[in-house]
């Protein structure tokens, strides 16, 4: 009986606690939600066109992006 009363009292008192409802402000630090990295995604259409990069591998993603960037170079784009 005493245990039940203690549990009820503990549960009842739990409502007295006030949870923080605002962002805890830290000067100069990003306060928002975390973002995922670009290379943590699987390349789209990999089953059709082959995998442009390996999921989670930054170097392979950068290599894929670099290949894409060179399409902006008209001399290399035309002659390659």
């Amino acid at each position: 009986m005493r245990a039940v009363i203690l549990i009820i009292a503990a549960l009842g008192l739990a409502a007295c606690g006030e949870a923080e409802q605002v962002v805890v402000y830290k000067q100069g630090k990003y306060q928002g939600k975390p973002d995922t990295r670009s290379w943590d995604n699987a390349p789209p259409g990999a089953e059709l066109r082959g995998s442009a990069w390996t999921k989670g591998n930054r170097e392979s993603w950068e290599e894929a992006i670099k290949t894409r960037q060179l399409a902006q170079h008209e001399h290399k784009r035309i002659y390659q």
């Binding site: 990295r37 995604n41 894409r68 399409a71």
Partner: protein
């Protein structure tokens, strides 16, 4: 390590506004907000007229990040400056701080009430799950996560607007200038990615909470 930048070649820009249209279409940017726009100087002056495509340059030492009172900005590992719209209070400080006029504010109601800030994301989405509907609605397409470059740069018909890793696009531009023998000035690069203060260390990507 890739460090994403924009470069606009004023010798090539023909003021077609293809980049503006590509951005609006790709990200379904609301009416009244232009993440990218084309600015023309010396309009009508023969031989002196130049057009430049301007948007957020994702500065190395971004002033918007420095002035934001709620610290909703962050820089990704590949140097793209993004912000969390759930935190933004639409105060407009970033607009006053930005040398490029990049931050845009949609009208959120009557009496000119400002909504949350909207700007170019380098087609990198924002702090929502990559490729999700929530990310698209708040920030637009995440092309970087698909291995693509910003739509504006890829759509540019004269390749005046280059986007991507700073080293690669600088090499492309350097070779272009060498071939034509003029027009080596890159508008906005000094302001966005300039040397900064003497002895200053380059900014590091911010460690975000909750990430491994």
């Amino acid at each position: 390590m890739a460090r994403m930048k924009f470069l606009c070649d004023a010798e090539r820009c023909i003021e077609c506004n293809g980049c503006v249209t590509a951005c609006k279409n790709e990200n379904e940017v609301p009416w009244g907000v232009n993440r990218r726009r084309v600015v023309t100087i010396n309009d009508g002056v023969v031989g002196a007229e130049k057009s430049i495509s301007v948007a957020c340059m994702h500065c190395s030492d971004a002033p918007c990040m420095a002035v934001c009172p709620v610290d909703c900005f962050y820089r990704t590992d590949d140097g793209v400056v993004l912000h969390d719209k759930d935190l933004c209070i639409g105060c407009g400080y970033c607009f006053y701080a930005c040398p490029f006029g990049a931050p845009q504010f949609p009208q959120a109601g009557a009496f000119g009430l400002r909504g949350k800030m909207d700007k170019c994301t380098f087609c990198a989405g924002g702090p929502e799950g990559d490729g999700t509907q929530a990310e698209f609605q708040k920030y637009g397409r995440n092309r970087l996560a698909e291995g693509k470059l910003p739509a504006c740069a890829e759509m540019c018909s004269t390749k005046a607007l280059l986007g991507g890793d700073g080293d690669v696009i600088a090499d492309i531009y350097r070779e272009r200038v060498t071939r034509r023998g003029r027009g080596s000035e890159v508008w906005g690069w000094g302001t966005a990615y300039g040397p900064g203060k003497p002895g200053a260390t380059p900014p590091q990507p911010q460690q975000q909470p909750g990430r491994s």
